[in-house]
Symmetry: C2
Subunit: 328 residues, 2 copies
Amino acid sequence: MSFRICGTGAVQPALRLSSTEIDRRIGQAPGWTAQHFAIESRAVASGDETSSSLGTAAAHQALAAAGWAPEQLDVIIGACGVMEQPIPGTACLVQRRLGLGQSGIAAFDVNATCLSFLLALDIAALGFAARRWQRALIVAADVASAALDFRTPEASVIFGDGAAAVVLEAQIEQNDWRAYRFETYGEDAEACQLAAGGTRLHPHDDLPRFLAHAKFKMDGQRLFKATARRFPDFLTRLLAQAGLTADAIDLVIPHQASAGALEYLKRNFPQARKGIIDIFAHHGNQIAASMPSALHAAITTGRLQRGDTTLFIGSSAGVSLGGAVLRY
Amino acid sequence: MSFRICGTGAVQPALRLSSTEIDRRIGQAPGWTAQHFAIESRAVASGDETSSSLGTAAAHQALAAAGWAPEQLDVIIGACGVMEQPIPGTACLVQRRLGLGQSGIAAFDVNATCLSFLLALDIAALGFAARRWQRALIVAADVASAALDFRTPEASVIFGDGAAAVVLEAQIEQNDWRAYRFETYGEDAEACQLAAGGTRLHPHDDLPRFLAHAKFKMDGQRLFKATARRFPDFLTRLLAQAGLTADAIDLVIPHQASAGALEYLKRNFPQARKGIIDIFAHHGNQIAASMPSALHAAITTGRLQRGDTTLFIGSSAGVSLGGAVLRY
């Protein structure tokens, strides 16, 4: 299977909080957030900035980079961690904002929280291989600030809002999507959750209970353990699937989960010739938008070159581990 | 592309409301709801019934019908209209409830509101064709009652809660998934929406505004028009893609949108030899669970037989039209 990434885009909301402003917000001394979480600044959605507005801005960038008109797309895949609104999906809202509301171009969403973008890439690849589509747009946008609880710094200060988009086209003859792997371990589903907002808790029946669960909760240590103990074997299986050894990887484009997770990856995967993309300091964990934002940074800074073999890797609520090997 | 449906299951919550109980609830004379909306009864989730509990019960039925153990699955695709909770996805919760929490079996969600099940079938087919998976479970569960506004009967009394599941396996050599088509027209995105529950409206910042948008809104007439004016051409394109004429269809398995939508379909597609599956009276519109519940009914009543050519068809918020032709 194969595809060619023809353009990428990434945007952050206009409002930016420095780590010292975050310190003030959570009642800590200046420098505390930077020291404990390796954060310099975060972007926060405000006014009429939403997942679909930010995602559409990123999509325009990606289309411009590819030199495509929106009408050339065959499919729009929304790959957000949490939807802008439950009905309809974010991809439909992006379709309309792109001026495609009468086009009939297929628009749907996929969800694997922080791994949604990787999942969407694989679904695009599957559709290309079956000649279902020729050209795809993937939009990943998240507004984590909507549901953060600043009383728990580890589950709040590390998150940043943003969006990224990628346009890609089928490449039937090649085999550049070398491997894709996705494993879920539901036993740790509570390690990372936002319980209210779906159909389980009803604001009209029991408002206090709804509100008590309407902020994101994360047990960082449990999540890290659940992921780290499975990571080495997962990576071994992924590389074996690609038929590659670790030193064949030029560049690693990881989910930007936390400074600790990125450090863990740097220690445990030192082989990549061009290292690991780390945009955490000024982006934070942008949920599903993290990985494509890191991809966009890798391309626009020139670190990712055509012909490079790149490893996408990350974990998500669920808990899932996901990875892929792409010859760019 | 091809797959074999090896087992199906469908469940409804224990609590059932008759149409006269609905009449009482909305302050109408006995018989009003039945007369206006062709409703006899509806199931409503209560107690600890959730999308993942109902979905898991349906999954057990489907697995039993196929004679499979849960461990034999390669992938679990959640295909709900609205998630049980925003993080993590419903598929992860079902995975754990099936006793697969340590299995690593991939679990993720796809979303196209009422067409989520059809989308999931196609993604399973794409994955089978690429040998990504061999055996898949699709779970579609919705608890519409969580967000209904009974002051607007057309957007409330027609909905019922429930879940359905299908297990299917790859069938590489055949071409039974004859055609699949999905078209989105975002210009009518507001015709059918649930605005609060995602990242756009924040209960902690502006609670009254959040609550005002936390119930489902549907402009039935606009939705019907948006769908009906595109339906004939959509169907023509779908059948052309399958290389079939209308009289080659044995049975139609539609989304159970409303009594009016089902009547429209019966009038405009009279060709199907075995007719159209209509379970609306005692199920209502179960969002994403409607189509697989209708499929389950078609199989368990013997109306769908091996070798039959069946047409799946429906529309969803977005607005999208979706259809597929399967040789069962």
